[in-house]
Point group: C2
Chain length 467, copies 2
Amino acid sequence: MSGLAAVLARLDERTEASLSELIEFASIPSVSAQPAHQPDMERAARWLSERLRRAGLGTVELWPTAGHAAVYAESLDAGENAPTLLVYGHYDVQPPDPLEKWQTPPFTPTVKGERPPEQKLYGRGVSDDKGPLLLTVQVVDAYLSALGRLPLNLKFLFEGEEEVGSAHLNELVEKNAQRLKADFVLSADGGMWSAETPSLTVSARGLAALELTVRGPTKDLHSGRHGGSVHNPLHALATLIAGLHDESGRVTVPGFYDGVSELTPQQRQDIANLPFDDAAYLTQTGAPAVYGESGYSTLERQWHRPTLEVNGLWGGYTGEGSKTVLPSEAHAKLTCRLVPGQEPGRIAELLKTYLEANLPPGVTLELHPSEHGARAYHLPDDHPGAAVARKVLAGLYGKPPLDVGMGGSIPVLETFQSVLGLDTVFFSFAVGDEDIHAPNEFFRVPRLYEGQHAWAQFWWILGENNA
Amino acid sequence: MSGLAAVLARLDERTEASLSELIEFASIPSVSAQPAHQPDMERAARWLSERLRRAGLGTVELWPTAGHAAVYAESLDAGENAPTLLVYGHYDVQPPDPLEKWQTPPFTPTVKGERPPEQKLYGRGVSDDKGPLLLTVQVVDAYLSALGRLPLNLKFLFEGEEEVGSAHLNELVEKNAQRLKADFVLSADGGMWSAETPSLTVSARGLAALELTVRGPTKDLHSGRHGGSVHNPLHALATLIAGLHDESGRVTVPGFYDGVSELTPQQRQDIANLPFDDAAYLTQTGAPAVYGESGYSTLERQWHRPTLEVNGLWGGYTGEGSKTVLPSEAHAKLTCRLVPGQEPGRIAELLKTYLEANLPPGVTLELHPSEHGARAYHLPDDHPGAAVARKVLAGLYGKPPLDVGMGGSIPVLETFQSVLGLDTVFFSFAVGDEDIHAPNEFFRVPRLYEGQHAWAQFWWILGENNA
């Protein structure tokens, strides 16, 4: 039996244990956005450190930040001539709200489906990113227990702030730049484009975020007595938000599209050739129609066009029954997804300028731009990591992977690029339809095992080529 | 000592007890809008019934409805030749949200201020309507204990659904129309226009209410992955809401102003003569500027122009931190204040038609018009109750009361008018600046005692004139 075969056999012996471990890990409510979950964040970091140690990694460290700590581990036993990979993932998860829409409790991971091929594990964070992250540690374990060695040098950086914009990671990576040196980053975060077709993500949109508060009277007023005589912050906010897009779905903020390249005919052709169908997409999302910037197809909009989305909007009485109030405040949370050519800081500034200039009379505005944005990212076409990924995926699924874009953002890509000069290859076995950031998030159980095989092969091939 | 003097003296002996009783009554969280407070609603109704019995009223009944019960009491001992008044009030209160803005707990009524003239009682419902309601019962008590008789026949109808649109009162009044016969209604609900100047409310705006839900995808989506390719219900809702008013502050719904009379030159002159000052109004409300339908002054807008207000708006992630979600739903609660010439049902229909016709693409709309609206009301200029009220107020405050309008609505006015054919005289000693429906609602403690004197005199004068 070759070394790789032994590793794969070891993984196959341990499928039940692998799944049990994921259930244990995902039952820790490590919600980075909510201060009440601080102890759970610490618990998740300890759990992960312990698992890394148990896999056989001698160096496992907790790297504190002003926010949540990152977990770092390394094995450099393959020597100076072997390649070195920096494996990235995150152990924090999105808030589970709205809770009432979960069919099983978000932090009681639950397997549904009779037979393994159809089994899904439901729970917050199972797909984003605890399943894809944990399997990389399980592969280390299999290598060290089956072969007593790893085919290359590995560094693991698992952060706890991905879901809150990786606020302190830049600082942390700068501080530890020497220790984090590697040939490239292999990311356990990201996602496969569909369950049927293997894909390699070669681009990701960037992010700029802003929270705004519109204020009117200093206290809530009776809407009967005062309605019509002072401006209602909810009306003013609705006017501001409504004005952010024109009727063709384009963002109206002056300068927003500056520097954004039009899609090339080749890009449009490649996208048109993909097996994507609006009707199936609507079935998947349940939306009554596709909608967006006119002149672009759905995938063109998702991968290559910038957006401005309201993620939350609130004010006044939102409880049961009625309360005739003219509220003193109204709030909105906005995020923009960026494409190459857009700077997050500049976009936030443009947005700020626009909102201030277009504020309706009779109210005041308070803006809180998020400190950390992310630039869009593109993996070079001839990247060596991409070649290995394509080879592994083609072998595993029997067909070559598609090159796809990613609508979402991973702010840390920007950090790896600008601080360490490293490219990132996405190699996640989550699938894009697994309801991440939504109720009833799930992870396809077979993907856990496929992901293990794929990572084991990736490391083997990369290590062998350099042996 | 005359009979009236004895009653007033008795009230003056009992000021501390009167205030203690109000504190006890207002500590019951009788929030009609929230099902969790059902037991508190029942407790408040029992407390009030018991207080009416203790005042000496032989007939005290609980009148159940499909919602919250009304409390009814009567004394007809003055005989057939004496006038009969129907006293109206409500024992339910608004929800206390937002709780965090209260400086003292909403259901722990708290007196602030050293000396009685400046004392205020803080708590939900103290001004709207438990203080003004309770003082009428205390006046009965004073009459019966001081004189052993009342100068006229009295019927009390205290409902438990005023803050939820008096949903079942129409039915109840119809069913008990015979027993509720009276010369006119004297309302303990309503409000004095300012603390310095006595006023008589001669008009009230009506009400129409509607709740709407905009739906997009059937589940919350990741705004990075899906943003820009399906419509965001928050954007669609903001567009709908923003479109409800034009730039001059007028409601855009076709037909909304049909049947609404322009103010007469006399009305405008009367209002211009009132001691009202926009700057003082802004200081009181804390709003940065007055705002509303152009071409009208603030008081003209509040009393004589219809409005459309958003009372609540919500959707997506509204918690701490960020969650990059494209939500499946967005919600809004709307109310319109109506003036004479506007039918609540028709206004709700016009609104429905407008919202359906202007729904942005890519989303669906669900509308829940409230079943019960209220028409606007106007007290006839030569009403005998108005004459008594003017006389009592002039005597109490040393200057004749101003005729004022009321921006708010009391749906039951419509019921008394249409079912019983009765006019309503507002005789409340709450003041318009007491933050009803808002955090830190308060009632001026001296108004409790002034109100008692005023009601005692009103009954005496009306009874004497007919003796």
